[in-house]
């Protein structure tokens, strides 16, 4: 499998009050085309910083990041993003929020844009909500719209920063099924940050366990058993125990 995202970060530091804090150190990994990889680690371990680097929001680091073989030098539509908060624009209706992600001089014909928007809303199970305001949506629905928006430009890589972290337990489980179904349909290379071990096992092809301060890849765990995965199957629980000891074992 060819790699679609290659991250090689030697060091990322923040200067604060004259002191320099290293938040990421020697993080090297690749995500293959169509692969689903989770970055797993406790809060404050630098996961979000790492994702900001991949998004091109911060280019002040030592190392290199490439998507589809091209160096990341700033934000770009080859990377779609979903954040912990839906970040829908409150004064735009659902369909307008999805179209907001399209570039202004989009050379996609005027005909195909509404069709693509409708198709995406159908994909995330929100047909009929085209004209709803974000304030009228539940947390789970808003996050579905955010997912549709992230997919509208057909990105090389989908980056998700704890996208289900703010949802209640039941909605989160339902959304995990949705994320899998959508990944299965769209086959977009996905890198997802999470602190939820079960979520990582349920979704990923591979889990990268991060250590805290500075963040570095502590363990790499392939998840080999097929979908649909049972959250209570013995192999699931065994892997869960293995990961938990990897996260907490050394400390």
């Amino acid at each position: 499998m060819s790699s679609n995202l290659a991250v090689k970060i030697e060091s990322k530091t923040f200067g604060r009050d004259g002191a320099t804090i290293e938040v990421v150190k020697n993080v090297n990994f690749e995500v293959a085309r169509e692969e689903f990889v989770c970055l797993l680690g406790p809060s404050g371990c630098g996961k979000t910083t790492l994702l900001r680097l991949v998004l091109g929001l911060d280019t002040d680091y030592e190392g290199s990041i490439t998507t589809g073989g091209r160096q990341v030098v700033g934000p770009g539509l080859d990377r779609g993003a979903v954040f912990q908060e839906p970040r829908l624009i409150p004064w735009l209706r659902v369909m307008e929020n999805i179209r907001f992600a399209l570039p202004r001089n989009s050379n996609g014909s005027a005909l195909s844009v509404p069709a693509r928007t409708a198709e995406l809303l159908d994909l995330v199970g929100l047909s009929g909500f085209e004209r709803a305001w974000p304030a009228e949506l539940s947390g789970g629905m808003a996050q579905r719209v955010a997912l549709a928006r992230a997919l509208v430009n057909i990105p090389e890589v989908l980056l998700m920063d704890e996208p289900l972290g703010a949802l209640d337990y039941h909605t989160r489980l339902r959304m995990q099924d949705e994320v899998l179904r959508i990944h299965d349909r769209e086959r977009i290379t996905t890198l997802m940050v999470t602190h939820d071990v079960d979520e990582a096992i349920f979704l990923s092809d591979r889990i990268l366990v991060l250590s805290t301060g500075p963040a570095s890849v502590k363990d790499e765990i392939p998840v080999l058993f097929p979908h649909p995965r049972s959250r209570t199957a013995p192999e699931f629980l065994a892997l869960r125990a293995q990961i938990l000891s990897s996260v907490y074992g050394s400390s």
């Binding site: 998004l55 929001l57 700033g74 934000p75 770009g76 539509l77 990377r79 993003a81 954040f83 908060e85 970040r87 624009i89 409150p90 004064w91 735009l92 209706r93 907001f100 992600a101 570039p103 202004r104 305001w133 974000p134 304030a135 009228e136």
Partner: protein, 268 residues
């Protein structure tokens, strides 16, 4: 909801309309009675019924209409110029660091000067004609909108701005599609404050230096001991002030339908 809507008057229920009428009715009736019984001298104040008669007369002979048009023209010009420049400069200063450094210290130094204190300077430079009155109103509206727009732009949800960055939007597009729309509710609220201030400044300017307009009408009637004319002027200002504010309120509701706010929760 539908049965509720059917029993509404201007968006309010019959019972709340009746409750609202009680106090004005008592005031008007006792006022009318006091004047008729000679408790209040007619040289100082006119009875409500006399004000109504005079109002009708002044409408039919065209004098009231003339003064209204003169005043409204000054108000709309001054308010329009003031809020346009206030929003433009506020947005410029709120979005751009260079403009902020260049303009904000100067403007913020001038804002504490009460607009009325500008009157002498404006008269010296522009005389007592229309220009000085329009500019006075413009100064008041500008200051209000400048502060509120700059603040609103800066208060934009940083998550939305970051999202726009992630989507590769250039800063001009971010300003137009994120920062400004996000500031619209605050700009509209500030416009209503500026409108109330504009009416105050208009009447001040017309009282101090004018020979037409509602402020002049009120002041001239006082000078010539015509309490009925004076009250007609006051009532007209109140009515027009309320009407122009209602217009802005309607615009505010139209432009902020996307908000689910406290107002919708309690139906006030």
């Amino acid at each position: 909801m539908r049965s509720r809507a059917a029993s509404l008057v201007w968006g309010r229920s019959w019972s709340s309309v009746l409750t609202a009428i009680v106090v004005p009715a008592i005031v008007l009736l006792s006022w009318e009675a006091s004047v008729r019984m000679g408790l209040l001298p007619r040289t100082l104040i006119a009875a409500p019924s006399e004000v109504v008669t005079r109002f009708v007369a002044m409408v039919s002979d065209g004098t009231l209409g003339h003064h209204c048009l003169v005043s409204l023209r000054r108000l709309i010009l001054g308010f329009g110029i003031g809020i346009s420049l206030g929003v433009a400069f506020g947005a410029l200063v709120g979005t751009d660091r260079l403009f902020s450094r260049l303009l904000e210290p100067t403007i913020l130094t001038l804002i504490p000067v009460p607009p009325i204190a500008w009157i002498p300077l404006l008269i010296i430079f522009f005389g007592i004609g229309e220009t000085s009155k329009v500019l006075l109103i413009a100064v008041g509206s500008f200051c209000t909108l400048f502060i509120h727009t700059a603040y609103a732009v800066r208060s934009t949800d940083s998550h939305l701005v970051e999202l726009a960055h992630v989507l590769g939007k250039p800063s001009r597009e971010i300003a137009v599609r994120v920062l400004l729309p996000s500031s619209v509710p605050a700009i509209l609220a500030a416009s209503r404050v500026a409108l109330a201030l504009s009416w105050t400044l208009l009447i001040c300017a017309e009282v101090i230096a004018s020979s037409s307009g509602l402020g002049w009408l009120i002041w001239d009637a006082r000078n010539f001991s015509r309490p009925d004319d004076m009250l007609v002027g006051m009532v007209t200002v109140a009515g027009l002030g309320k009407a122009t504010d209602a217009g802005l309120e309607l615009l505010e509701r139209r432009l902020t339908v996307w908000r689910r706010s406290y107002r919708d929760l309690v139906h006030v």
